[in-house]
Subunit: 90 residues, 2 copies
């Protein structure tokens, strides 16, 4: 029961990023996104992934590997747009 | 050592949302954000919070309580804007 609850929680926090990834890829617009948020989040998720590998916990590894891929996509698109915008201003 | 690593990971994934909260409150613009992402994420974080309460794990409780507050702010602002926009179109 408890495992099932943890599994639901992990699935929700992992798959939550899918609608944002789809929206960002579709519109390519990231003006309202914070690249800092996604940079810090990606670092944190990679730390969780390493933590999962050290304690050898498969659910932690899988959930964070998927989240890392999803947040990386949003991070790189928003970073690219952010740098492009900065270049235009300069 | 392992606890410290988990603590760093939890801090990064919790505080990552602060820059986005500041940006969203400042600009009030949420066109590029996915309200669905923040809705699903908020549900997931609340599930983690309940999970933390059940297993009586303070770090899990604290990290998810803070993340729930931060994602709730972004969720409600983006939902409000989304509904307002829908009303204008109709």
């Amino acid at each position: 029961m408890l495992t099932l609850f943890g599994f639901i929680a992990a699935s929700l926090t992992t798959f939550a990023f899918i609608p944002q990834v789809i929206k960002t890829i579709k519109t390519k617009s990231t003006d309202d996104l914070s690249p800092v948020m996604y940079g810090v989040l990606l670092s944190g998720v990679i730390c969780w992934l390493i933590y999962g590998i050290i304690i050898n916990d498969l659910p932690v590894i899988v959930a964070n590997a998927v989240t890392a891929c999803l947040t990386a996509i949003i991070f790189f698109i928003s970073l690219k747009n952010h740098l492009k915008k900065k270049k235009v201003i300069m």
